[in-house]
Amino acid sequence: MAFDNLSDRLQMSLRRVTGKGRLTEKDIEEMMREVRLSLLEADVNFKVVKEFTKTVKEQAMGEKILKGLNPGQQVVKIVHEELKNIMGEKAAPLTINMIGITKIMMVGLQGAGKTTTAGKLAFHLRKNNNLKPLLVALDIYRPAAIEQLKTIGAQLNVDVFEMGIFEKPQTIIKKALEYAVSNGNNLIIADTAGRLHIDNKMMQELVDIKDILKPEEVLLNLDAMTGQDAVNVASSFHETLSVTGAILTKLDGDTRGGAALSLRQVTNIPIKFVGMGEKLDQLEVFHPDRMASRILGMGDVLTLVDKVTENIDEDDMMSLMEKMMSGKYNYDDYLKQLNMIKKMGSLGGMMKLIPGMNKALKGQNIDEKQTIYIKALIQSMTKAERKDPKLISRSSSRRRRVARGSGRSVSDVNKLIQSLEQQGQMMKKMAGMDPSKMNSASALGAMRNTPVKQKKGKGKNRNRFRY
């Protein structure tokens, strides 16, 4: 997950501070060096890092911290708050016209992921804003770029407008506007060619397109793996085009993604979306506050909550959770849980969102195929067996029958039995866990400052299960 490594290092450097009764100036100096290096290692722009450590140091040096009861927690809080400050306070929404056509222009360097993201954005806005998108192919330079957009359009069943590679992009966008009106599209997403920010001729082309299209949003697509140069790139595009937002792509890699921190601070461009995979539904709204929590290794609980509410019946979830916690957990529940997780997205992705799991899972791979085998095994059991796991674990002939029925081996059945037992135990443990122990002392202080959505009605107890 993004920022994993940054949080590791930050936690490492802060661990020395937490648990100490009092901080000396030398402690703070040493810690700031660690923070500084870890941020630089995360590709945060060095100017941002400088400012960041300066601010944190000043605050930490103040008497507030030295007279505090638990200085370590307070430093973590300062770091967390400052990270939030840099990344912007709130998630910035897209400007969508209620009447008429909403126009969006995608810009960025070569290989940033504009074409794929254009498709993702069309899908996202059709699903969530009920718009009828038109993708416009303006990349007449890269071989087969138009074909790529057309294929994506066909996959999503979204209209694509193109005029081949022999018309100028300025002409194509003009015609596309007319086409959108006659075709009844109320969203235009213009996919421009990738270009270097120092290529004046190509940048002028973007200015021309912008003048014709008059877009509500000019979105800069930036590779999350970008290093120190991110700021130069963003500044140049911003100066020329007054960029309204950024999309951070390929954040599902193992990059620390420090570019996210730098962007807003240096250029004031809000990050609006993040690309989380190659599939066309893997675009997520960027939440700066959540990202700050992630940096500190507190897990992305809010994203998890959102995903759950989007896809899961709350009552189902509640009863399942209660069962898990109480230890009365059987194969029916196991199956239900598997189906839920499947609905929410990949298993590996989900687990990473849970605080604590992040570290626990390091180096382990969750095989998605396993879920299919498990399903087959459970479905080969009788109803009684599913309800009462003891039946299976006590009888070897039942185990053999299940193995035969599912086409798996007896040892697979045994593994499943073990895994069910482990799950039950883990859930029991989680239910009784002290949250402060899970995330080191740091979580408590900062967690309080993380806005938690309060739900009314049937889902109101859900937050109990945050840990």
Partner: protein, 322 residues
């Protein structure tokens, strides 16, 4: 300026370096002017100066660990040689940077291409790093040398990828082999090798789908591709080139490490160096994993691919200091 003169004694080298310089001019003036100013305005060598140096190198995306090691080595050398004037540091920095890359070994940017066999070059890398474009340019180089080159469309996943490579093959006059979108890339490689044997191809350039190095299943797929190639042709792939975007930060190191575990990377192609990024992470990759850089991409045109030359690269970075 003794060392520096030695470094660029041949006229040709200077001329070539000019091209690098052009491509990297923006970054150079951005960051390394700081270095020039810094060295010229400081009168004594202090800890602060080393801290500043550290920052300047980090701004070029040279890996943090490598930078720390390098700067601490500089400190020691300064003490050992009794250097006191900051201006004398210039030469030392270049000399040490050069040593860091070469490490007393013979580093060549030529590919291991021989006339008595089918040569297979595999291109790997993360999404959007420029694999397909690089293949087009490399093919162009070898076709000009009179080789029969086959391009294999191993990216069966991304929409339009096959056609993109096909258009490149038409541009440079290479043979082209592909199967349907969505086919197993290993089977594409297998069939392509048969095709190459039947058509007396000299060099096979294999494209692969871009993949992030933390996607275990995709890396397994790559491992399989590699295995199939190795099984069909002895000693193949003869070169496996990791294509890295110059704007890449510290993640480049993770890319090199993990791709190297799966495929045994023999060289790096540093693309898009004509922007403002310096691609300093390749120095860290060389330092930590000893993988040399083979090519640099300096533009979108067909012949904008150069064999990497460390002297030219360093000159491109530091030329302005003198």
């Amino acid at each position: 300026m003794g060392f520096f003169d030695k470094l660029f004694k041949s006229k040709e080298k200077r001329k070539n370096a000019q091209k690098y310089k052009l491509g990297m001019s923006k970054t150079r003036s951005g960051i390394f002017n700081n270095l020039k100013i810094l060295l010229e305005t400081t009168t004594i060598i202090t800890d602060d100066l080393f801290d500043e140096l550290e920052e300047i190198f980090i701004m070029a995306d040279i890996g943090v660990d490598t930078v720390i090691k390098f700067v601490s080595h500089l400190r020691d050398t300064v003490e050992l040689k009794g250097i006191t004037a900051p201006t004398d540091l210039k030469e030392l920095i270049i000399e040490e940077m050069f040593k860091l890359y070469v490490k007393d070994e013979i580093v060549t940017s030529n590919l291991d291409i021989r006339n008595d066999r089918i040569n297979i070059v595999l291109f790997v890398g993360v999404n959007g790093s420029g694999k397909t474009t690089t293949i087009g340019k490399v093919a162009n180089e070898y076709i000009k040398k009179g080789n029969k080159v086959l391009m294999v469309a191993g990216d069966t996943f991304r929409a339009g990828a096959i056609n993109q490579l096909k258009i490149w093959s038409e541009r440079v006059g290479a043979s082209f082999y592909s199967k349907d979108e969505g086919s197993d890339p290993s089977s594409v490689m297998f069939d392509a090798i048969q095709y190459a044997e039947e058509n007396s191809i000299d060099i096979i350039l294999c494209d692969t789908a871009g993949r992030l190095q933390n996607k275990v299943n995709l890396m397994k797929e790559l491992g399989k591709i590699n295995k199939v190639i190795a099984r069909e042709v002895e000693g193949a792939p003869h070169e496996t080139l990791l294509v890295v975007d110059a704007t890449t930060g510290q993640n480049g190191l993770s890319q090199a490490k993990i791709f190297n575990e799966v495929t045994n990377i023999s060289g790096i192609v540093l693309t898009k160096l004509d922007g403002t990024a310096k691609g300093g992470i390749v120095l860290a990759i060389k330092d930590e994993l000893n993988i040399p850089i083979k090519y640099v991409g300096l533009g979108e045109k067909i012949d904008d691919l150069e064999h990497f030359d460390i002297e030219e690269y360093i000159y491109g970075m530091f030329g302005d200091i003198f």
